[in-house]
């Protein structure tokens, strides 16, 4: 592309930007600082940004133009000759929502679109690939989730709600838990004995808590959802069973609980598989009189329980009570409940 044509395109883009945002002077974005190019620098190569106007606009990144790989001049070295990089935290909420689209048709709308979802949109592109900051943030979120995966629930939290702990047949720690879901679906013999000793039978609603794949999810939601379920059951006239906590827990353990305690409805609050950078998402699995051989089609689930973007845990607690009443009314759960409910 020759220089005249390039300049014409750049001028057109700048005119478009001027027309879109006559007054706005946005703060410079941390992720895309305006290219610090001296005003009079000779344009030896096609330059991606126009320095004279850059101060008035959010630095436009002209992705489709052939950007010069090293358009930025080398920073003048401080006297000591020492390089200093001291970055703010890129995972802070307000930095996550920085738009990355070059020249959006509607920049204001782009911001509200980004705010409407936790999905990574409005990120822009480098050719058909991600912008650098967006890519590094994705990798960082994966990293922190990986590191958090192997933790256990804080015992203090369980004490707060008087939950005693039982265990499934997993004996070899989290690694075995991950590789042997069959062991996580059934309670070990000691646990069966303890539950039989300590728990009331034949309740209307039996609440259990399980670590599942995220201890952080239980820690983030239990304080909100548990009291709502307790109070909700009371107002609805549902007799609550004795609650307890299950370590190395899979959803299928519902069947064992049903067989041991004969409640009408069991609800299992269990940590979901962590999402990127977010491990606080919890599910409530529910079943009517679960028994050996029951499967997912016999269950209902309220998933994505977390504050700020998911199903609010307070709200989820109320849904649990409604669902329990519904199951008892129709004497069914899962697909069967849907069919009789229609």
């Amino acid at each position: 592309m020759d220089e005249a044509r390039l300049n014409a395109i750049v001028d057109a883009v700048v005119r478009e930007l001027l027309a879109l945002q006559p007054e706005q002077s946005a703060p410079p974005r941390a992720e895309t600082p305006p290219a610090p190019q001296p005003q009079a620098a000779p344009q030896v190569q096609p330059a991606p940004a126009q320095p004279t106007r850059a101060a008035a606009f959010p630095a436009p990144v002209l992705a489709p133009l052939p950007a010069a790989p090293s358009a930025k001049p080398a920073q003048p070295a401080p006297p000591s000759g020492e390089l200093r990089i001291d970055l703010p935290d890129p995972t802070e909420a307000q930095r996550r929502v920085q738009p990355g689209v070059a020249r959006p048709v509607n920049p204001q709308a782009l911001e509200s679109m980004i705010a409407s979802t936790t999905a990574r949109i409005g990120v822009g592109r480098a050719g058909p690939r991600y912008r650098t900051t967006a890519q590094l943030l994705l990798q960082a979120d994966h990293a922190v989730t990986q590191d958090a995966l192997m933790r256990n629930v804080d015992p203090k939290l369980l004490d707060e709600f008087g939950l005693f702990t039982v265990q499934t047949r997993v004996t070899g720690g989290k690694q075995e838990y991950l590789l042997r879901p069959d062991l996580g679906r059934s309670l070990n013999d000691d646990s069966r004995r303890i539950i039989a000793e300590k728990c009331a039978r034949g309740a209307n609603l039996q609440v259990c808590v399980g670590d599942g794949l995220s201890a952080a999810a239980i820690e983030a939601n239990l304080r909100q959802i548990f009291p709502v379920i307790r109070q909700g059951a009371q107002s609805a006239g549902l007799a609550l069973g004795t609650p307890f906590y299950i370590q190395y827990c899979r959803v299928g353990v519902l069947n064992d609980i049903g067989e041991l305690l004969n409640p009408d409805v069991v609800v299992l609050l269990i940590g979901e598989r962590p999402g990127l950078g977010r491990a606080e998402s919890m599910s409530a699995y529910m079943a009517f009189r679960p028994k050996a051989g029951d499967n997912d089609a016999d269950r209902n689930v309220i998933c994505n329980i977390f504050e700020g973007g998911g199903t609010n845990p307070l709200e989820a607690g109320a849904v649990v009570i409604q669902m329990a009443q519904n199951m008892i009314r129709h004497q069914a759960s899962g697909v069967k409940l849907k069919l009789v409910g229609q």
């Binding site: 048709v105 990574r120 990798q139 994966h142 879901p181 962590p274």
Partner: protein
């Protein structure tokens, strides 16, 4: 049945076909969980020598679940074309592999032979294939389908626009959907996994996506991936449905754990033909994945590859528009790490194509598997080279509802530009008309979701 070989002077004997098939697989944590994996790498090699000598008729006579006990077996067995079968029944699995790879064997020839195969034959030959065998073999077999547009044509790569949202917010979903469209994602389907499976929620999302399709005259179809019974209710109530979705499993017992049966799928298929708004003739969309039968304890003692092959035989009954394995979604207890996920992805795509269905792939992983985004990008490149019909398009591959990672809007765009592939032809034309793509390359307008706020 005697199934025995010597290898390096040592004798390996396999008691039956079930164990032989399990031990011939590449290493998978799910086969270890099921107790059918090879104990040593040498035993795996020995099993393959024996399997290579098994004639195809033996595999037909020994389905993973007996005919009288399982309707998936019956669906597959009853659909076998006997004329084709009689031509190939005496081939050994090893000979079948070489025939598939031969330069004289065309895609058309393979499509014909498909009609004489059962799932166990397809699984068996897959076990003898290396990764590149799977890619090369699959690349010969084009299986396209038509709904409102055409998927799976040679030289094309499509993308399911998957704008999932943690609480199904219509604005949030719309924003993600627009982002995806601006990158050229959505030619396979605009397909949402709802957080809320209820009729009112699902019908609302169907209305919303249909509205976008109409407003922008997009040559595609919509789908809300609720349980099939909810979608049937939506169709009966007049909601605009493009594709009808269901997850399926390789045995009757497995399907029961999904709350479905062949009768129910037949009914859904009939309703789709009666009520779906697109041109057709294909309206069904299925998802599968190795390990699903085992996780429902519905594998009848068989390995997960064989159970997966049976899914495709069931799917074929419905002449679907698209089928994809959700290959790494199930977790590390079935596919432990990047290597196992990549292998399974190549196997599933190959088996789907060999069955004769329009196969795509949700190349994905979960946070508790030993994999990362690089692993999934590698798999996507391998599958695109193998002629995979479509991938998922998720904002940066990070699904905010299902909490797993897969391929992104950017990935499909990059794969197209990397491997000189195009969107589905009708969709490419649409992109060009909006100035989003020129000569197969995204233009400067692409990647801006606010473009779609104009209408």
């Amino acid at each position: 049945m005697l199934l025995r070989t010597k290898l390096f002077g040592k004798t390996y004997e396999f008691p039956d076909l079930r164990i032989l098939m399990g031990k011939a697989n590449e290493e998978k944590s799910g086969d270890q969980l099921a107790g059918v994996a090879a104990d040593t790498t040498a035993e795996r090699a020995a099993a393959r020598f024996v399997l290579a000598e098994v004639p195809l008729w033996v595999l037909r006579q020994n389905p993973a679940v007996p005919y009288d006990q399982d309707e998936v077996t019956r669906v597959i067995e009853d659909a076998v074309n006997e004329t084709v079968y009689n031509e190939i029944k005496d081939w050994t699995v090893g000979e079948f592999r070489e025939w598939l790879l031969a330069d004289t064997t065309t895609g058309e020839m393979i499509r014909r032979i498909s009609n004489g195969l059962t799932a166990e034959m397809i699984a068996a030959v897959t076990k003898l294939m290396s990764n590149m065998d799977l890619m090369y073999g699959a690349s010969k077999i084009r299986v396209s389908a038509h709904c409102n547009n055409t998927i799976g044509l040679a030289g094309t790569l499509s993308s399911r626009n998957q704008p999932n949202h943690p609480v199904d917010s219509p604005e949030g979903i719309r924003a993600e959907l627009y982002e995806g469209l601006s990158y050229g994602s959505g030619d396979s389907v605009i397909g949402i996994n709802p957080a809320d499976d209820s009729y009112s929620s699902v019908s609302r999302l169907l209305d919303m996506t249909y509205d976008v399709i109409r407003t922008w005259e997009i040559p595609t179809q919509n789908c809300v991936l609720a349980h099939v019974t909810t979608q049937m209710q939506c169709m009966r109530s007049g909601s605009p449905v493009g594709l009808v979705f269901q997850s399926i499993c390789g045995s009757q017992k497995g399907n029961r754990s999904f709350g479905i049966s062949v009768d129910m799928l037949d009914e859904a298929d009939a309703l789709a033909k009666k009520y779906c708004f697109p041109t057709g003739p294909s309206y069904m969309y299925f998802e599968t994945g190795q390990g699903s039968a085992l996780s429902a304890n519905a594998h009848n003692g068989w390995d997960q590859l064989t159970m997966e092959a049976r899914n495709y035989g069931l799917a074929k009954r419905y002449n679907p528009f698209q089928v994809n394995t959700v290959v790494g979604f199930i977790g590390p207890e079935y596919l432990y790490d990047a290597r196992q996920i990549q292998r399974a992805g190549l196997e599933d795509h190959f088996m789907g194509k060999l069955t004769g269905i329009p196969m795509g792939c949700d190349a994905c992983y979960t946070n508790h598997a030993r994999a990362d985004q690089n692993a999934i990008e590698n798999l996507a490149v391998m599958l695109a080279a193998a002629g995979c019909n479509y991938f998922m398009g998720i904002p940066m591959g990070d699904d905010s509802m299902l909490s797993y990672q897969c391929t992104s809007f950017h990935d499909t765009a990059a794969l197209r530009q990397l491997l000189k592939l195009r969107p589905a032809p009708e969709f490419e034309q649409w992109m060009e008309s909006l100035g989003l793509m020129k000569n197969g390359i995204l233009t400067g307008r692409a990647g801006d979701p606010t473009l779609f706020l104009k209408r």
